[in-house]
């Protein structure tokens, strides 16, 4: 499951984003997967690496968090959710191959993002990137990230970033899914592949070569 996953905080909450490509070797097994998974009403997790490992970790954490919520009598905090993910990842580090980003909103600390890479380290960050596609985004975020963005600015940044990664990472592709979490609740958005911006050396999509040929074409065919 090569991937691009991103989590970004803004003034009021978090925006999580991911691509939708799941591959087995060079074959795209699922071109519309959902890599942003719910842990509780207010905490979601972005999954990368082995699909099986990331699913089992999030299933366990969802189970523990459910019990924790009943005992606590109120919604779990993002920090508790992230630390449960860390415990599972760290204590099974020899067997697991999954990088995760936990993001959510709670009434004590507001919007928070926690990165949990391979090995089970936990790092709280204003934004986090992960998956094979993230290698293409380090420079981009160094330049484009700013403190105190609005909800729309943050979502546009996430969509632009995932789109750039999809352009260069063969293991990322498909549609872009975003999840916005704040005090008002959770919003899921969907950006299909052909609605994304075009980058260097990419061309606007056509229905067919035949349409290009039959229109008064300014660029004739060449040998």
């Amino acid at each position: 499951m090569g991937t691009t996953i991103i989590g970004v905080t803004y003034n009021g909450g978090v925006v999580l984003g991911a691509d939708s490509r799941t591959s087995t070797g060079m074959y795209v097994a699922n071109r519309a997967s959902d890599k942003i998974t719910q842990l509780t009403d207010n905490v979601y997790i972005c999954r990368s690496g082995s699909a099986a490992d990331s699913q089992i970790v999030s299933d366990y954490v969802r189970y523990f968090l459910h019990q924790h919520t009943i005992q606590l009598g109120q919604p779990a905090t993002v920090k508790v959710a992230a630390n449960l993910v860390r415990l599972v990842s760290y204590n099974n580090k020899n067997m697991l191959e999954t990088g995760l980003i936990v993001g959510g909103w709670d009434k004590y600390e507001g919007g928070k993002i926690y990165a949990i890479p391979l090995g089970g380290t936990i790092i709280e960050q204003p934004f986090a990137i992960g998956g094979s596609g993230s290698t293409y985004l380090y420079g981009f975020f160094d330049q484009a990230w700013k403190e105190g963005m609005t909800k729309d600015e943050a979502e546009q940044l996430v969509v632009k970033a995932v789109s750039l990664a999809i352009a260069r990472d063969g293991a990322s592709g498909g549609v872009i899914r975003t999840v916005i979490i704040n005090s008002e609740g959770v919003t899921r958005n969907f950006y299909p592949g052909d609605s994304l911006p075009l980058w260097h050396e990419e061309l606007p999509p056509q229905n067919s070569l035949l349409e290009l040929l039959h229109s008064s074409s300014p660029e004739p065919m060449n040998v």
Binding site: S23, A32, D34, K35, T37, D59, R168, D169, P192, V223
Partner: protein, 245 residues
């Protein structure tokens, strides 16, 4: 080509060729090429991607080239080896022209030459890491063949390399028929290329379609295909099964 002893074969090689040069793995690679016979000749399609491992590094690589007057060669696999093959073919066509006898190598002959080159390199454990599609028309006879990096070669009404074998050829087996029009041929190839774009990790959305007829070769301008993501199942696939994909 080279008939001298291995230490002198290639002045550009910095060590004795006997002890080192073997292609172990490819670096910059192109993905599928598809070819079909149609009414007036051959239609071939290939995208313009040059992948560097999992990175889509180069997006304007021309993987189909005309050879002489009667042939069109498309290649997948290592791009540097494809460029070397084009160099060999330049030499072949040059010698052919130098005979100045009114005769010229047709697609069948070029295919045969390429087969020998690929197979002999394979026997020396130093393959040219490519799968080739060779199409052409000479004296009204249409020809479409393929050669792999280990020298496997054959001709057919429709051929493909790499993932195209698994994803495009089943479509072609169902929908190809004798005497396809140019329009139908293009639509069929585009249908195959779209599936490859959805399902091949190394595919890139920028392609060319080339045609070769008795009159000659034409390679289209680069263009991109529209893709469809509007299935309702794509909207919220994990509703009711949280944690799945």
């Amino acid at each position: 080509m080279q008939l001298m002893d291995s230490s002198h074969s290639n002045p550009m090689s910095l060590c004795s060729q006997a002890d080192s040069q073997r292609t172990l793995y490819p670096y910059v690679t192109g993905t599928s090429v598809i070819g079909v016979k149609y009414k007036d000749g051959i239609l071939m399609a290939a995208d313009m991607g040059g992948s560097y491992g999992s990175t889509l590094r180069y997006k304007s690589v021309e993987r189909m080239k005309p050879i002489g007057k009667h042939s069109l060669l498309g290649a997948s696999g290592e791009i540097s080896d494809f460029q070397e093959i084009l160099h060999y073919l330049d030499e072949l066509i040059l010698y052919d022209n130098m005979w100045d006898d009114g005769n010229s190598l047709g697609p069948k002959e070029v295919h045969s030459y390429l087969t020998r080159v690929m197979y002999n390199r394979r026997n020396k454990f130093n393959p040219l890491w490519n799968s080739l599609v060779l199409g052409g028309v000479k004296n009204g006879q249409k020809y479409l063949g393929t050669v792999s990096m280990i020298g496997v070669h054959f001709e057919d009404n429709h051929v493909a390399t790499g993932f195209g074998n698994h994803l495009a050829r089943p479509i072609l087996r169902d929908e190809w028929h004798e005497d396809l029009s140019f329009e139908d041929g293009v639509k069929l190839l585009e249908k195959c290329m779209r599936v490859l774009l959805y399902r091949d990790r190394s595919a890139v959305n920028k392609l060319q379609i080339a045609k070769i007829t008795e009159e000659g070769v034409t390679i289209s301008q680069p263009y991109s295909l529209k893709t469809f993501w509007g299935f309702s199942a794509f909207q919220n696939p994990t509703v009711g099964a949280e944690g799945s994909w």
